[in-house]
Amino acid sequence: MNKLRVRQLWFAATLLLSLFLMLIPLPGPLTPFKPYWPALILLYWCLQSGDRVTLGLAFCLGVGADLFDGVLLGEQALRLTAMVFIALRFRSRLRFFPMWQQSLAVLALLLNDRVLLLLIRIFGGDPLPPPEYWISPLVGAALWPFVFLILDDLRARLRIHDT
């Protein structure tokens, strides 16, 4: 009972943390290197416990991120929903990939996400973004093993402490 609650709290806390990380600015020249944190954390939970992450959750998280971001309501909701859908569909296979293949898959997902964002912005009438726009997915994929291992480790520890 208690264990379940702790796990749910941990789940919610990581998602909130990802929103915070999204809002915290990096110092000037590093700005294009910022990974898309909500996507990384959501992907981790997709792979780790797929029954808890649903399309509805991704949509809600996206709407929340949009509210914080203040750009276009529904933009991140659409992107996260699409990403979670793909990840859930290939979840069983992704889970058993070795880490480097998983990173590549994450790279593909993040690139797809950027393409979606690009489409949305172009439909909205924005000009094409500069080439630095495409750095963020690479950083995200490079960080993926660390994100995965750290979150996995923390989860394992929480479980141990909890029981």
């Binding site: 809002l23 309501l73 529904g74 500069p130």
Partner: protein, 339 residues
């Protein structure tokens, strides 16, 4: 493995229900986006939810604030002394200039009173601080720590010590979001200080420069020219520095010159900014001058009086080359024949 291989995540066969749900959510998101894009609906929602959003902005701004505090705390004495010295010199210089300016301003005021105009040189401003929050990549926006409770309104101009930074686009109870002049969606009417040429400076794709894409080929613009706000369009008050032209080149079509300018304001370093209050002129063109000049019977054709009214908003600056001389020639004889 086996415990996860239920019907919800089959290894290969995709479910139809999942696709349906995906479509529903995607459509929902699209509807939200369209509603928001058309109606500016998001700002209302955000205003309502600002109780939640604002504290989170404050918390998310803490790391950068802490970083700054740490740099101050760990900066060595010498650097601080140097900075202090430099600031003191700046202050001295600024004060000296101000003292000289004061007499000029007074004189200006007197002369303007003589001319019976309402412009004043005093600034009605409000100090604001930036909150270190990243609102989206490649969105040139900043978050300020003042909001509707401090009587901030959308459209107010944000400046720093060196020049115009942008304008407020969204107001929440205690914070507000400003769009920088380098945003690709932003345009600011400017004048080249040296020659008086009016044009429009747009934000650029790359982010840290301004682009002036439509300068007439015959115009005299050089690298190093200072740009100041022209006051046209009624949003930015005239006379504030905007940037400095870095290079001028012909557009690929050859019909215009295109210039790149570096913003005068420290867009990514300023911590404290100023919000201007009600300095802008009223929207739209000024009221037509009472019929000065020759009587209507002498006018050659009825279209002539409408010409000077046309360039109200400098959206397209291509015709400026032609109408300006036309206006100058048409108005000077009018002024000349009046007495």
């Amino acid at each position: 493995m086996a415990l996860n291989r239920d019907e919800q995540s089959p290894l290969f066969a995709p479910g139809v229900a999942g696709t349906l749900r995906l479509i529903v959510y995607l459509v929902l998101a699209c509807v939200l986006m369209v509603l928001d894009h058309r109606g500016g609906w998001l700002s209302n929602v955000r205003y309502g939810l600002s109780i939640v959003v604002e504290p989170i902005y404050r918390i998310a701004g803490l790391p950068s604030q802490g970083f700054q505090a740490a740099t101050v705390a760990f900066a060595d004495r010498q650097r601080l002394t140097e900075a202090n010295q430099r600031l003191r010199e700046d202050l001295l210089l600024a004060n000296a200039k101000l003292n000289r300016m004061a007499s000029v301003a007074e004189q200006n005021q007197r002369l303007k009173e003589l001319l019976d105009t309402q412009h004043s040189l005093s600034l009605n401003v409000q100090l604001a601080r930036l909150i270190g929050v990243d609102v989206g990549a490649f969105r040139h926006r900043i978050v300020l720590n003042v909001g509707a409770r401090d009587k901030v309104q959308a459209g107010q101009v944000v400046i720093d010590a060196r020049g115009v930074m942008g304008q407020v686009v969204e107001v929440m109870p205690t914070t507000s979001v400003a769009m920088l002049i380098t945003d690709p969606n932003h345009a600011i009417p400017v004048t080249v200080e040296r020659t008086g040429l009016r044009t429009v400076a747009y934000g650029s794709r790359g982010g840290d420069m301004l682009v002036l894409p439509n300068i007439p080929v015959s115009a005299d613009v050089q690298a190093g020219d200072k740009l100041v706000t022209s006051g046209l369009g009624g949003r930015f008050p005239p006379g504030f520095p905007v940037g400095e032209v870095r290079d001028v080149a012909q557009t690929p079509s050859g019909t215009f010159l295109s210039a790149q300018a570096k913003p005068a304001a420290d867009l990514d370093r300023s911590e404290d900014v100023l919000l201007l209050h009600d300095l802008a002129e009223q929207d739209g063109p000024p009221p037509l001058a009472p019929n000065a000049g020759p009587p209507a019977g002498l006018a050659p054709d009825p279209n002539a009086p409408t010409v000077p009214v046309a360039p109200t908003l400098p959206k397209v600056t291509s015709p400026t080359a032609t109408p300006v001389p036309a206006r100058a020639t048409s108005s000077t004889p009018a002024a000349g024949t009046k007495p």
